[in-house]
């Protein structure tokens, strides 16, 4: 256990020291991937630990990003109307935009709004015992609703162009390399804290209830627990993590548009977790970083091959590596251990739950 902890510390320290060994361009990429890793943590909690497959996390990521972007847009507009509203013929700032000129409100909203939406949706669907693939498909329908709305209400949201062209955050210029490094480090710290909290949760009593819900929801119910409230809680938590990631994303990348909350990005988020290992938090982080690195490598070198590779990755992981890369390493280590202590009883294999 201690060895494991040491490994985690080393990993996060290595990430934190990124600016020492990564070029400016690679650092910016890594910062973006680490934002995705925060989303992956949330998906790992609900999918790997609780058995809820959400195909709609792009929405929560997008909502968080938009909340922060609204503040950034207002700050760079400097008291005037944001540029896209002028083109769209809006004469005064809409009322719901106004509180976002306050950075504390905007940052708070980027956590609370995704969490509230998830709580509402989760409460209704989980209470009605909609689960499994039905929940997944409904979450996909939610994506359709939000993307269509955000595109159609261009006078409020910037339409397909989204929100972009920010200059400062709390008065600090976003383009200076030092700010980029600071934001990167902030992302690593946030990821580290989220990871620590998530692993504490999964090791707690509540975390064991979550796994129990995954393996047999009705038994949990018969034991006197209320699965709905546990599920709503963990679903909102993962939405809040996605919103948090959205905030960090928009600060570093300087752009959010409805295309980033669509159906395809939402499914890709699940892929990160599946590749890394759905039952492992560290696997989710590694998955997000590895898949996205592969994506940027392939699209730089062989743009045509990328979608075939992505497709194959999905199939291979699902068919042959249901526990992802972490599961692969684990089983390889188990085998080695087994061959060392001949005659020793084998470990119980991981239960594969989908």
């Amino acid at each position: 256990m201690d060895k494991k902890k040491l490994g985690y510390w080393l990993f996060f320290i290595a990430l934190f020291l990124g600016p020492l060994y990564l070029t400016e361009f690679r650092l910016a990429l890594m910062g973006k991937f680490l934002c995705f890793a925060i989303v992956a943590l949330g998906i790992c909690l609900i999918w790997g630990y609780t058995g809820i497959l959400s195909l709609g996390h792009g929405v929560y990521f997008g909502l968080g990003a938009y909340c922060t972007a609204m503040y950034l847009k207002l700050e760079s507009a400097g008291g005037e109307l944001p540029d896209f509203m002028e083109w769209s013929g809006v004469s005064a700032l809409p009322a719901f935009w106004q509180p976002f000129s306050n950075p504390v409100f905007a940052l708070g909203a980027s956590l609370v709004i995704p969490a509230l939406l998830a709580a509402m949706l989760g409460f209704l669907t989980f209470k009605n015992r909609i689960k499994g693939v039905y929940f997944s498909l409904i979450s996909q329908a939610v994506v359709v609703v939000f993307v269509t709305l955000f595109v159609a209400k261009q006078d409020w949201t910037g339409g397909t162009n989204g929100l972009t062209n920010f200059t400062t955050f709390l008065g600090i210029s976003l383009s200076s390399p030092l700010v980029q490094i600071a934001l990167y480090m902030l992302t690593v710290i946030t990821l580290g804290i989220s990871f620590a909290l998530a692993s504490r949760l999964t090791n707690s009593r509540a975390g064991r209830v979550l796994s129990a819900i995954r393996d047999g929801e009705n038994r949990v119910r018969f034991l006197g627990f209320n699965p709905t409230s546990y599920k709503v809680f963990v679903y909102s938590l993962s939405a809040a993590l996605a919103g948090l990631a959205g905030t960090l994303f928009v600060l570093q990348v300087g752009l959010i548009s409805p295309a980033m909350m669509g159906i395809i990005p939402s499914i890709e988020m699940v892929l990160w977790v599946a590749v890394g290992g759905r039952h492992s938090l560290i696997g989710a982080i590694l998955g997000a970083v590895i898949v996205n690195s592969a994506k940027s490598f392939f699209s730089e070198t062989y743009p045509d091959i990328w979608s075939i590779f992505l497709g194959l990755l999905f199939i291979i992981v699902v068919m042959f590596l249901p526990n992802g890369l972490v599961g692969m390493v684990q089983s390889w280590k188990d085998k080695r251990k087994k061959s060392k202590q001949k005659g020793g009883t084998a470990n119980a294999t991981d239960s594969v739950v989908s």
Partner: protein, 403 residues
């Protein structure tokens, strides 16, 4: 577990180290050699690849021609092609890479407004230079972008005037639900009011919408003389097929489109398009000696079955305009090139284009064409001389309240 993590950390740092090495090699190589690198940044994958691949082809062709002719300032142009993957953050990211890592002299790229808006802050912050080759909705004039496609007063405004004079006064506006159609239609409405037209309907459909039966029955209800079409991509196919099914032909109502070029006609089918109109600055059939050469060269390079079109020509022009500006400035420096660019002229396939030094757009001839059964346009009107670009429509009194 610990093994996996340290392995990952090692790979990470390993990648980074090798990258750093590569970068150093590249920059030193670029400084001493007699080549100059430029970026070509279009979507080569994803939904926009359909349109943008042809632009990359045209730009590469222009680069090859210039190189064969001795290059720019004696240096051969070396294109660095990047894929924007139809994804706007990727565009921003790749633009940053081209400017910071490859230190290119200029970038040719983009198609959608969203991709341009995503790249704009990158070019402004790094003082780079972007050549954007597609018609767009105007209301923009970044000091770091040259716009070689039409702005609204070089495509939409004159075509509306032409329609009012030749085809009818009552307009129905349809468009895909995004920035270009909504902004364009706002301008059209103001223009109709000023020039004596009437608006009988305005409808938007989501991108990728494929059922137009209800929209068409609204059109039938309002009986407009002209349908002004700013639909995008696949929606055009569904709209035109279903319009014909509903018994509306080019004889009943005139449809004028601004996003249908030769390439799109082939995917829609001439059986439903013949007799309808489009407004552009260039058609493959445009009759200039430059165009004859251009079309022949394009077909020879990329196959006899390929067609040219307005954005393809604008992308081709962009490379020549940049090269001419560099020659005039006698430097690749962005500020010097910008300084020199005003007034640069190029005998383009679609007629002479000139860079307007004030807003960095180009003077272009406006053309309206009728779609023929062979998938080509027959020009029915042109503006005679190149029209001065006016992205904010400042010279039109009716557009005052739009800004």
């Amino acid at each position: 577990m610990i093994a996996a993590i340290s392995a990952a950390a090692l790979t990470l740092s390993g990648c980074a180290a090798s990258n750093a090495l590569n970068e150093e090699e590249e920059t030193t190589a670029a400084d001493t050699s007699d080549t100059v690198s430029v970026g070509v940044l279009h979507s080569l994958s994803g939904t926009m690849a359909i349109s943008e691949v042809s632009l990359r082809d045209a730009e590469l062709m222009a680069i090859e021609e210039i190189n064969a002719d001795g290059g720019v300032l004696g240096k051969q142009i070396e294109p660095i092609v990047e894929d924007g993957a139809s994804d706007w953050p990727t565009f921003a990211e790749k633009a940053k890479k081209l400017l910071q890592k490859d230190e290119v002299a200029t970038v040719f790229g983009g198609w959608t407004s969203a991709s341009r808006k995503a790249m704009l802050p990158v070019f402004e912050q790094n003082n780079g230079l972007l050549w954007y080759p597609v018609q767009y909705e105007g209301m923009e004039s970044s000091p770091n972008i040259f716009y070689t496609g039409a702005t609204t007063n070089q495509q939409i405004v004159p075509s509306v005037t032409w329609l009012l004079e030749n085809k009818g006064k009552s307009f129905f506006l349809i468009g895909s639900d995004y920035v270009f159609p909504r902004t364009a239609n706002k301008e059209i409405k103001a223009q109709l009011e000023a020039e004596g037209g009437t608006l009988v309907g305005e409808e938007y459909t989501p991108l990728g919408h494929t059922d137009y039966s209800t929209l068409i029955s609204k059109i039938k209800e309002e009986k407009p003389e002209v349908i002004y079409n700013t639909l995008n991509g696949d929606s055009n196919v569904a709209f035109f097929k279903q319009l014909k099914d509903a018994g509306i032909t080019a004889d009943d109502m005139t449809v004028l489109s601004v996003s249908i070029a030769e390439e799109e006609i082939r995917g829609i089918g001439t059986d439903v398009l013949t007799g309808h109109y489009a407004a552009w600055n260039y058609f493959q059939t445009t009759d200039t000696p430059e165009n004859e050469k251009f079309v022949a060269a394009y077909k020879e390079a990329y196959g006899d079955d390929r067609v040219t079109g307005d954005p393809i020509e604008a992308a081709y022009n962009a490379v020549y305009l940049w090269a001419a500006a560099v020659e005039k400035a006698e430097s690749f420096d962005v500020d010097a090139v910008k300084e020199a660019a005003g007034g640069i002229e190029f005998k383009a396939p679609g007629g002479t284009v000139t860079i307007d030094g004030d807003n960095q757009h180009t003077y272009k001839t406006v053309r309206v064409g009728e779609i023929q059964a062979d998938g080509q346009f027959k020009e029915v009107w042109n503006s005679g001389e190149p029209v001065k670009p006016d992205p904010y429509l400042e010279t039109y009194p009716w557009a005052e309240e739009l800004n």
